[in-house]
Symmetry: C2
Subunit: 442 residues, 2 copies
C-alpha cells in the first residue's frame, strides 16, 4: 500500500494527515521509496536527509497538528538557505557552504508542519549552466531550469510540493516541460529572505505541485493568506488570449494547445478574446534581459570579483553583458519597465486573467541546455502572478503547458480562476490525448 | 602628522592615495588610532580587524591602483554579511554566525580598493532594540538607529565612510543626530544581496560620509555610475519645501532650520516654494509602519518560529503587529502605497528636489531609545533618493539636519543639487552657529 502514497497530491495527503488516517512517517517513507527507485535516472536532488526527515515525521505523528502542511514532505531548491542541509546555489564556489539559517519561506513551511526531505538541483545561481537533472518523462530531455530539481521531483511524484524561484522563466518553463503546475505569485508575494539574489527587481519565490489546489495550499502558508484554501469560483471568467510577440518561436504543439484552450474555455462559458499585441512589447524580452544582466552583475559582485575562476562561461557571459550596460541606461530601463507595467495593469479592467504560451513547446534535448525563458520574461518583468497549467502533449510525448497570468495583488482570485480553467482544460482534453496520468486526479 | 589623517574626507583622502601622497597604511593606522582613543566612549563597533586591515593596506600600497576607493578605510553595518568578520545582525541568535560570503555592496567597495576595518553596531535586525553606541557629540544621547555604529563612526572621524541601510529612517535619522551626510538612493539602487532582509519592499542600502561629494564617491562605485564623480551644477534648483504632516512633532530647532534654509536658498537663487501638504498623506506613517510590520513578520519567519526566545520584546511587538495584519489588507496597503507613490512622482515635474525635516529635532537621550523615524517613513515608502544634510545646532548643542528628497532614478542629479544646496547652507550658517567643526571642510 505504501508504494502508492507518494502519488497523493498535497491537498489530499494533507486532509488524510489532518484526520490522522495517514501518518507523516508513512508518507515520508513512500516519498523516499520513490526517490530511491528513480533518483539514479532523474537526478533531482543535491542533498537528502532521510533520517532527519523520518525523525521529524515521527515527532509530528506523536504531537499535535502543527498547521495546514502537517506532515507534508517537500523539496527545497538549492538556491534557498537551509540550516540543516548544504546550500550550494548550483555553484562550486559554495561546495562546502552552510548558511546557518533557513530561508524565510522554508521556515514558514516547516512552521506549518512540512518535512524538508532534501535540496533540489538548481542551475548555477539560477541562470543557465545546467545541473544533472533530467526530465522524468524521458531522460533524454531537460526538465527546464533554473528550478530543475524541484520541477522534476514533483513531476516524478517524489514529493507533492517543492519550492522554486523565477527571475526570467525558472518556474513556468520547467513546470511546462515536466507537466506540472508551477506558481509564481505577484512580485514580492512570498518572502525572499535567505534566497540567493540574482536580480532584485525580478527574483520571485514560488513553487510546484501537481494541481492548482495543491499549489494554493502552500501559497496560503507562504503568503499567509487563508483565502487560498477556498478556490470556489462560479463566475464566467473574462480571458484575454495573449499569443505574445514571440509567437513565431512557438512550436506547433503550443500553437495547437493555445487554440484548443480558447475553444474549450469559450464552450465552458468563459468570455474569450484575443488580446491585440502592443507593438511596443517587442522590446520586452530585451528589456528584461538587460535589467537582469545589470542587476546580476551587481548582486553577484562577490562571486564575480572574488571567485571569477569558478564561474561558468555561461554566467560569465551574462555578467559581462551586465557590465556593459551603464547605470544611466539601467535606470532608463527600469523607468521603461515601470511604464509598460502600468499600461498592462489596465488590461485587467477588461480581463480577469490572460492565457499565454508557457514555453515554445516541449522540452528540448538535455544537451541543448534548459530551454529559453522568452515566453516568461515579460510577465516576470511586470511582476504579475503566473501559473503553468499542464494541458497538452507534444510530438515527442512530452507535456505542453499554458501560462495563466493574473492581476497584480490578486493572487487569490488568480488561483481560483486558474483552478476553474484547469479543470475545464483537463476534462475536455484528457479523452483526446490520454496522457493525463501525471496530471492531477480527482 | 598621522593623528590628523583620520579627519580627511573620503574624496580628499582618495585623491592623495591616488597620487601616492598618502599610503593606505598611514590612513588605516590613523583611523585605528582614533578608534582606539574613542571606542570606549562611542561603542561604534561590533568587530574590528586591525591586522587584516593593515595587511590589506600594505598590499594596496605595494600594488597598482585598484579603483576609485583605493586605500579608503570603511565601516560596514553588522546587518551586512562579511566573509572575514562575524555577522550578528544585532541579535544574540547570530552570536557565532559566519555567513561565509560578502554582501554584494561590501564586495563592490573592496573591489574598488576599500579596506574594511570592522563591523558597526546595528540595532536588532535593523529595528529598535538599541546597541551600545552613543552619540559622539555627547555620549548621553543616542546616535539614532538602526545604522547606529556606522553613523557614529563616521561622525567621530574613525572612518571616512560606512555602509548603512534604511527600512524606515535608519540612515537619515542617525545622520541627522550625528551631524553627517547620509544617503539613501532610489529603492533598489545599491544591491541588497547579503544584507539581512527586514521588509522587502522598503529595505534600501546606502551610506554615511562627512560631505555630499564624499558620499557620492562611494555611490559612484556602489551604483556603478561614474556620473556621480562630477557633481557640477550651475542651475537654479526648484526646491519644494515639504513640512510634512508630522510638523506638529517637529521641535523648535527643526522648524527654525527649515525656515532658515528656505531663506538662505532663496537668497542664493533657488526657486523656493512651500509644497501644499496633501491631506491623504496623513495615512503614510501608518501605511509604512503596517507594510513594514507585515513584511518583517514574513522575512524574519525563521527567527520568529525557531528562535523566538532570543528576540527582544521590541521586535516581538513589531512581529506581532505584522501578524495581526491580513494578507488581504497588506495587498491593499501595497496598492495604496503604489498609488500615492505615483502621485508624488508627478511633483518632480514642478520641483527638482524637496526639502523636509530629517527628524523631529536633536538626538534624544540614549536611554529613551534610538528616536522616531516618522519623518522618513513616507520617503522610504516612496523609494525616493534622500540625503541628510547637517546644517544647524539645537539647544543641547547637538546637530540638526535637513532631508533633501530627489526624483526617482535621478540619484546623480539629486546628489549634484544636494552638493549645491549643502554648500550654500553651510556658507550661510557657519558664522551664526559656529558648530561646523564636524562638518565638511574645504
Amino acid at each position: 500500500m505504501s508504494t502508492a502514497l507518494n502519488r497523493l497530491g498535497a491537498l489530499e495527503a494533507a486532509r488524510k494527515l489532518q484526520r490522522r488516517e495517514l501518518t507523516a512517517e508513512q508518507l515520508v517513507r513512500a516519498c523516499f521509496a520513490r526517490i530511491e527507485q528513480r533518483e539514479n535516472t532523474v537526478h533531482a536532488w543535491t542533498a537528502l536527509q532521510k533520517q532527519a526527515a523520518l525523525d521529524r515525521a515521527q515527532e509530528l505523528d506523536r504531537g499535535a497538528l502543527r498547521g495546514p502542511l502537517h506532515g507534508l514532505p517537500i523539496g527545497v531548491k538549492d538556491l534557498f538557505d537551509t540550516d540543516d542541509l548544504p546550500t550550494r546555489y548550483g555553484s562550486p564556489i559554495y561546495e562546502r557552504h552552510r548558511p546557518g539559517l533557513d530561508a524565510a519561506s522554508v521556515a514558514l513551511c516547516r512552521g506549518a508542519g512540512a518535512v524538508v526531505v532534501g535540496k533540489t538541483v538548481t542551475t548555477e545561481f539560477a541562470t543557465y549552466q545546467a545541473g544533472p537533472t533530467r526530465n522524468p518523462r524521458n531522460e533524454a530531455y531537460t526538465p527546464g531550469g533554473s528550478s530543475s530539481g524541484s520541477a522534476a521531483a514533483v513531476a516524478d511524484e517524489m514529493v507533492p510540493f517543492a519550492l522554486g524561484s523565477q527571475t526570467a522563466g525558472s518556474i513556468i518553463r520547467p513546470a511546462s516541460y515536466c507537466g506540472i503546475v508551477g506558481f509564481k505569485p505577484t512580485f514580492g508575494g512570498i518572502p525572499r529572505a535567505g534566497v540567493k539574489s540574482l536580480a532584485e527587481s525580478l527574483d520571485t519565490v514560488g513553487g510546484f505541485a501537481r494541481s492548482v489546489p495543491d499549489v494554493a495550499l502552500f501559497a496560503s502558508v507562504l503568503m499567509r493568506d487563508p483565502r487560498m484554501l477556498d478556490l470556489a469560483y462560479d463566475g464566467k471568467p473574462r480571458i484575454g488570449m495573449y499569443r505574445s510577440l514571440q509567437w513565431r518561436h512557438a512550436q506547433a504543439e503550443t500553437k495547437e494547445a493555445f487554440a484548443q484552450a480558447a475553444a474549450i474555455l469559450s464552450r465552458a462559458g468563459a468570455v474569450v478574446e484575443e488580446v491585440p499585441l502592443p507593438p511596443e512589447h517587442c522590446v520586452l524580452v530585451q528589456l528584461h534581459s538587460d535589467i537582469m544582466a545589470f542587476e546580476a552583475s551587481q548582486s553577484l559582485a562577490y562571486e564575480r570579483l572574488e571567485h571569477a575562476a569558478q564561474l561558468s562561461s555561461k554566467i560569465q557571459a551574462i555578467l559581462d553583458a551586465g557590465a556593459r550596460i551603464s547605470a544611466e541606461e539601467h535606470l532608463k530601463n527600469l523607468a521603461r519597465a515601470a511604464e509598460s507595467r502600468a499600461r498592462v495593469d489596465t488590461w485587467f479592467d477588461k480581463y480577469d486573467v490572460l492565457l499565454a504560451p508557457s514555453a515554445a513547446g516541449e522540452a528540448p534535448f538535455a544537451d541543448l541546455g534548459t530551454g529559453d525563458p522568452q515566453f516568461s520574461r515579460a510577465w516576470t518583468l511586470f511582476g504579475l502572478p503566473c501559473l503553468n497549467l499542464p494541458f497538452a502533449t507534444g510530438p515527442q510525448g512530452l507535456p505542453v503547458g499554458l501560462q495563466l497570468v493574473g492581476k497584480r495583488y490578486s493572487d487569490h482570485s488568480t488561483l481560483a480562476i486558474a483552478a476553474w480553467v484547469h479543470q475545464r482544460l483537463l476534462a475536455a482534453n484528457a479523452p483526446d490525448i490520454g496522457a493525463s496520468d501525471m496530471w492531477p486526479r480527482g
